[in-house]
Symmetry: C2
Subunit: 338 residues, 2 copies
Amino acid sequence: MRSFVVALDVGGTSMKGALVDRVGTILHTERRATPRQHGPEAVVKTIRAFITHLTRLGDTLPTGHPGGDRRGPLRPKAGREHSGLAGVGLVVPGLVTPTTAVYAANLGWRDVPAEEFTSLDVPVMLGHDVRTGGLAESVLGAGRECTDFLFLPIGTGIAGAMIIDGEPYGGAAGWSGEIGHIPVLPDGETCACGQIGCLETYASAASVGRRYSLRAARPGTRAEQVVSLARSGDPVAVAVWNDAVEALSLALASYTLLLDPAVIVLGGGLAEAGSALSDPLRERLSKRLAFREAPPLNSAALGVNAGMLGAALLGWHAAGDPGIGGTWTVPLSLPPAP
Amino acid sequence: MRSFVVALDVGGTSMKGALVDRVGTILHTERRATPRQHGPEAVVKTIRAFITHLTRLGDTLPTGHPGGDRRGPLRPKAGREHSGLAGVGLVVPGLVTPTTAVYAANLGWRDVPAEEFTSLDVPVMLGHDVRTGGLAESVLGAGRECTDFLFLPIGTGIAGAMIIDGEPYGGAAGWSGEIGHIPVLPDGETCACGQIGCLETYASAASVGRRYSLRAARPGTRAEQVVSLARSGDPVAVAVWNDAVEALSLALASYTLLLDPAVIVLGGGLAEAGSALSDPLRERLSKRLAFREAPPLNSAALGVNAGMLGAALLGWHAAGDPGIGGTWTVPLSLPPAP
């Protein structure tokens, strides 16, 4: 029987599940809604059912599923005691340790132990959403060549994964990486979080869209539209985009001076702007630094799959194989998006 | 024969040497000028001679020197092969690895290997000045109770030692901890380093003195005078001190949000202001943070001896005893200042 892990990336609106074998083949992916509106326990129950479903499915897969070896025939559904399930990796938002989902404001969780998330007798490891994405970029992606870097996904919000000596760093109590809320413009605008001048209030994809929509009186304009409007010279879009790049350059200057990263890996929706983001950002970051070089700004390699691939690594960690991943050939073996 | 290490804290103007035994007794301290004006090689030669001198002296000390056991008689000077010297710990400014003084602008060093610093056949370990002070506070001082904290000595300049998982963290290339140069007020004053709005240009002891001297047209006013002028209501002093506290609160807010330290340990000359610094700083830092608590602000425990005590720990590391220090009772066993 082929052995595999269940990898689950739980977000506020949906959860991405996958089955991943020992050599990094993604055997199956599947998505379910996160029933947040039904309360914290309903989400836990859905996760439990999803893991059982994926496991049963994994045990019915042919051992010769595309990407793996093709020697075995189709196997019948196996009982739990004969399952190929080796471990579960679970990425969740909020404050988390490997064994407990300590606190998740948007899901209503407080101190949910890892074993609550499955009714199967299998080791489970939990991970923080952004930090597990950073783990995946570190082992499999854009941070493969170095041990100390920042993974900065810029999406609806902004949080960073700080990879230190090859491991995602959580801080004293698990609250590290809140680069989206450092006060880059201390006399600036009030952030949704209540603080003044946070990076996120200028530079998240949501903020870029919101600030343009407000100033140009064009409600609902999205960040990618602002980027192309700025490209074509729309002065409001240019100003909003400049503010975002300026705020990012200040945050990355502070990060660089404090932590001396080998590289900064940009990800998330806003990074899809490509050189429209990275070129001016690189230039401004260099200008902000007088006595040291700026680290290279690289693009994330794993895209939206970083969290799910990180969850697979956690699943294999849980199964007793923490060194796994070095020989995986992602993203080459990623199946087409469902 | 009593075994000991030579601990040397090399600064731009003077070097502090000490002999420290295995139980943390400081057997001897001595200071020499740093002959910076004679060039990089002269400084290395002086260090070499100083280490030999201190070693000879250590070998003539009675085994029953105050603070140690008192069983042995005075011993004659020992040949090198019979010396009690177990290791050398050397704290130097600039960019440094345990085995190489990579770059020190103010001493003119480039890639000086550790073994260059002594003609004796003994293991040598090098350390970065601020980070080794942080190591000492971590093992012996204000950070004894936690594994993740910031040691922030505020003196002529400002640099921080980031203790991560119990160890000083150097970054990808050894340039970490430059919190004095993060852009806290991005449209602010130009720093001596060439950047805009650095923490150091508002909040170092030198800057507090300089900014008051300039604004009040009272040249040469020192930071501690500014603190007492502010206490007595001098409006210029109040404004300058407020700027310093504001800049520090911004830098510590960024540090806290990024690194989630268990505690922030304030040291250096400016921390001698005591509650005149820590009370308003604590209040402003809390105000800057909306969704998390501020870490406690504590005072450094080892004062000006942090570097030298850290050098002693490095010396014992070099001697093959990296776990040393946990049972030392500093600063209680510190001899009176010479």
